[in-house]
Homo-oligomer: 225 residues x 2
DNA sequence: CTGGATCCCTCACGATACTG
DNA sequence: CAGTATCGTGAGGGATCCAG
């Protein structure tokens, strides 16, 4: 008798429906990792180490049923299965980046358990990129956090971020969680370099431009825990 | 022993953190209702009839701890408590509207249990409004769904939506769930009126402009359940 | 009446182990 | 490699109760 039919929010509302599609725990993080391209089950696991495999399995089915994700069988060689976003799912990218940017404003220090993944870092570069601040900038940056290496090529208002190193980067930025404070303007480039929380290879002047182009606006005077 | 520390996603990532702040079940719907202004506990219950009161209580505490919501004591008269978004919480409006618009694209027919609330309808008007399509339009619309009555005043690129009727509206639109198909272009204004799923008071020509100005882009060829 | 707190039940989540 | 099976726990859900 507690057996109410379903887990619907009971509202005829776009937002409520969106949350039924991608609002379950882990769902949006799965979408996040698929924004950068099709992935295998195991790749998804690698990007989300704390997701139980059964939950990943269920989420993928739900997302597929919701028209957000498509399951595709790979042809030989390298046979297998990949999951990819549908066109409809792709349309979440913008929302996802904005939500991530919003969350980044109040992101504190990472717990020891927290990891950074290549995908999340690439998405962070996309989310923080400000075309209007990239006026005449043309530069290639290589970013290293722990053993994660990604790169960003800025060409005026266009930016392209990807995994791996860059040949002939203008600047190599080797850092850690301090990257967030740096992008948020809570840590000046000079301070960052002096304190050793950021190490550079290349002209340090590029770093000033980097933090202009990739930016996290400060959160408006709220002190979360 | 099963007592793993917390419900963290274990990622140092803006999106993961955002989901820890507002990703729990019901949380974003609570934020939705607060976007339109401070509300009492009971007002929130009315807007979210299916939320258990203990969950609402917990969510409000969590949102408060996360710096998204602020609890404020009302002065006399009408003493009591209201919950309101912080500045940081307000910044979610844009994401919320976009996510709602995305969800609206694949919104099917309402289940018998589904309700529409005044707030969600006002937010839907905000989300679907296209300033660029409102070029020279100046009009006042009154929208009635069941016993819900809201209005929208369009003045060139500006729009203001609110609860209740309008004095001297250019058009009164009385309808039901068909409003979604109408805004999505799946139902033409003429069809809607002919089939009786929409009733008008005022010049029917206004309806054509209405569906231009308030619009849900079609979902890209995906057939969800 | 508002503004919750409390109880209890159930199911979804999460950890682990196991299979095609 | 790509998931399914199993099973314990705790969050969600519904009803009721209580204080101001």
């Amino acid at each position: 008798m507690g057996t109410m039919k379903c887990r619907s929010y009971g509202q005829f509302c776009g937002l409520a429906h969106a949350l039924e599609l991608v609002g379950e725990r882990w769902a949006l993080l799965v979408v996040r990792d698929l924004v950068l391209g099709p992935k295998r089950f195991t790749d998804l696991r690698r990007g989300l180490p704390r997701i139980p495999t059964n939950i990943l399995s269920v989420r993928l089915k739900e997302l597929e049923a919701g028209g957000v994700v498509r399951r595709r069988l790979l042809a030989r060689p390298a046979a297998g299965v990949v999951y990819e976003l549908t066109e409809y799912g792709m349309e979440l990218e913008d929302v996802l980046l904005r939500l991530g940017l919003w969350g980044a404003k109040s992101l504190g220090s990472p717990l020891p358990v927290d990891i950074v993944t290549t995908d999340s870092l690439i998405l962070a570069l996309r989310a923080t990129f400000r075309p209007e601040a990239a006026g005449e900038v043309r530069a290639g940056y290589e970013l290293r956090l722990g053993d994660i290496v990604v790169h960003a090529r800025v060409d005026r208002g266009c930016m392209d971020a990807g995994a791996g190193p860059l040949t002939e980067p203008d600047l190599v930025i080797e850092t850690g969680p301090a990257i967030r404070a740096l992008l948020a303007g809570e840590l000046s480039p000079d301070e960052a370099v002096e304190s050793g929380s950021v190490r550079l290879t290349g002209d340090p002047a590029h770093l000033a431009r980097f933090v202009e182009v990739f930016h996290i606006a400060p959160a408006p005077a709220c002190a979360p825990a």
